[in-house]
Structures are given as structure tokens and as C-alpha cells.
Amino acid sequence: MTVVHGIGVSAGIAFGPVVRVGAAVRPPDDEAPAADAEERIRTAFDAVADDLDARAARAGDPAAAILSATAMLARDPSPIDGAIARAASGAGPATAIDGATREFMDQFAALGGYFAERAADLRDVGDRAIALVLGAPLPGVPPLTQECILVAHDLAPAETATLDRAQVLGPALDLGRQIGVADAALLVAQRRFVGALGSVAFKAVPERLRRNHGQSPGRFAGNRVGSACARTDRGAAAG
């Protein structure tokens, strides 16, 4: 039996089969340049934005606001123009999208805080555009047919916001990074699932961190993310 330790971010307990969130498709190595790269890149970003806007129109708050904001990132000229410039200098279309979105993600990550969290939205937009330009299945949550525990490395805020609450007993996230007080994925997970029977969300402690620091999950929680969890817990209790 596999045991994964985590830090609860909302109260409750849940049992269910595991459904894994589809991993993002990576651009192929040595992707060939395409003569119609500009058109394909524009079409892919357009389709990502249209899909997010359509989901926003069906969703209630706060999901709609998050989806609309992510759609705005997909329509932003900076990553699109960056990808087209990279394609014009010989990169394949998927490689160009990957490079351009990563360039801005790195800038956001370096700014930290609020910006680092927007980097997750941008990665979601980039991963969707890459899948579309390659004709591959979209990354993310597969259609859910039964109650389950959703296991993901990370959930884009847009995905967490639109999860089918009736089907998802709880998301288990291995974020592999320090969580912030305003971490959008966790905040949305709490709003969506608090009050549901057995609502849980975990930040699993990466095995390598526990090994490197020789810490138990509890000590890890206290030292690194305990205060963040306590503050988000209070926010959930008040809301």
C-alpha cells in the first residue's frame, strides 16, 4: 500500500478511488518549424481563450472571475507575439509557445507572491495552447464518472474552480512548492469543498524534501507552511 503524507487545508476525511489529472503534453524534441506557425499559434491561443470564456459564462462566482482572468491571459499579446517571434526564428510552433510562456512565467516567479501564483495560470494557458497546436488531448481533469479523489501535481485555478463538486470528494495536491496564504488553487479548493462531506485538500510533502531535511511531515508543516495553513483555515471558517 502506498502512503502519502500531506497537510490538510480543510477539515474532514474522504475515501474514494483515485483519478489522476492528465499531464500536460510537452513539445517534441527537435520539433520541425512550420510555415503556417503564426496562424496555428494564433488559432491555438484564440481557442484556449474562447474555451475559458465559455466556461466562465457557465460558472458562478468566484469561478467565473478566475476563468475570465485566465482567458485574458490567453488573449494577451505578449506570449502570442513572443511565440510567433520564436517560430519566425526557426522554432516549431509548440516549442515556440512553450518558450514564450516560460519566459513570462520566469519573470513572474522572480517577482514572487501574487505574481508567482499568476505563473500557474500562464502555465495552464501555455499547456492548453501546446496541446491544441499538436492536436493532442487537452491536459487537466478528465470527464468524471464517479465519486473520486482527484490527484494532481497542481491544479490550475481555472480547473479547481470548475471541478464537479458532486463527483470530487477532495483534491489531493502535491504542489511541490511552498504554499502561500493567497494560493489560488487552495483557496478555490476550500471554497468549493468546505461543507461537502469529507472535504479535504492536501499539500503532500514531497518525499525529497522530507529526506533532505530529515523532518517529519508535522515538523515540516510547523516550520514551513503551518502559519499559512492556519490563516487560510480561518478564512474558510469565516466564509
Partner: protein, 92 residues
Amino acid sequence: MPTRTVAIGSTVGLHARPAAIFVKAAGEAPVPVTIAKAGGSPVPANSMIAIMALGAKHGDEVTLAAEGDGAEGALDELATLLATDLDAEPAS
């Protein structure tokens, strides 16, 4: 090239709601407009991502630039927006 240099009037900086209002207005301008912090490279004013990465705080001076028909009017309008505390306006 016509330019306008203006200090950011929004108390939160060019960020969040003020940035969204500015980016929307820049996207509706008849000519492409760039914005730069002192000593920095100009970035497209109609890109939320570029504006966020710019990280202009309250009181920071930024320079808007544009060329072509309608550039002067667009720059005047956008400079006025930047100088206003957009976060203090009633929510629409």
C-alpha cells in the same frame, strides 16, 4: 516620436484593477502604445502580462510612446488615466 512622462497616481501602483483599466484603454487606442519605466525597455501597453511584469508602483515615473494618426490624443488620454488614482473610482 510623441511621448508623455507621468507618475503613477494609483495608490496600489499599476497593478490589479488600475492595470486592467489601463490595458483595456490601451487596447482601444488607434495606434500601438508602449510604456517604459525610467531606464527600462518599452513594453506593449495593451499587454496585461507586460504591465504586471513592469511592476510600476505609486509615484513611479513611466513614459508612454506612440506614433501615427491619433497618437497625441491616445497618449493624452492614457497619461490622464495613469495619473488618476483608478483604485479610488467607484467599482463599475
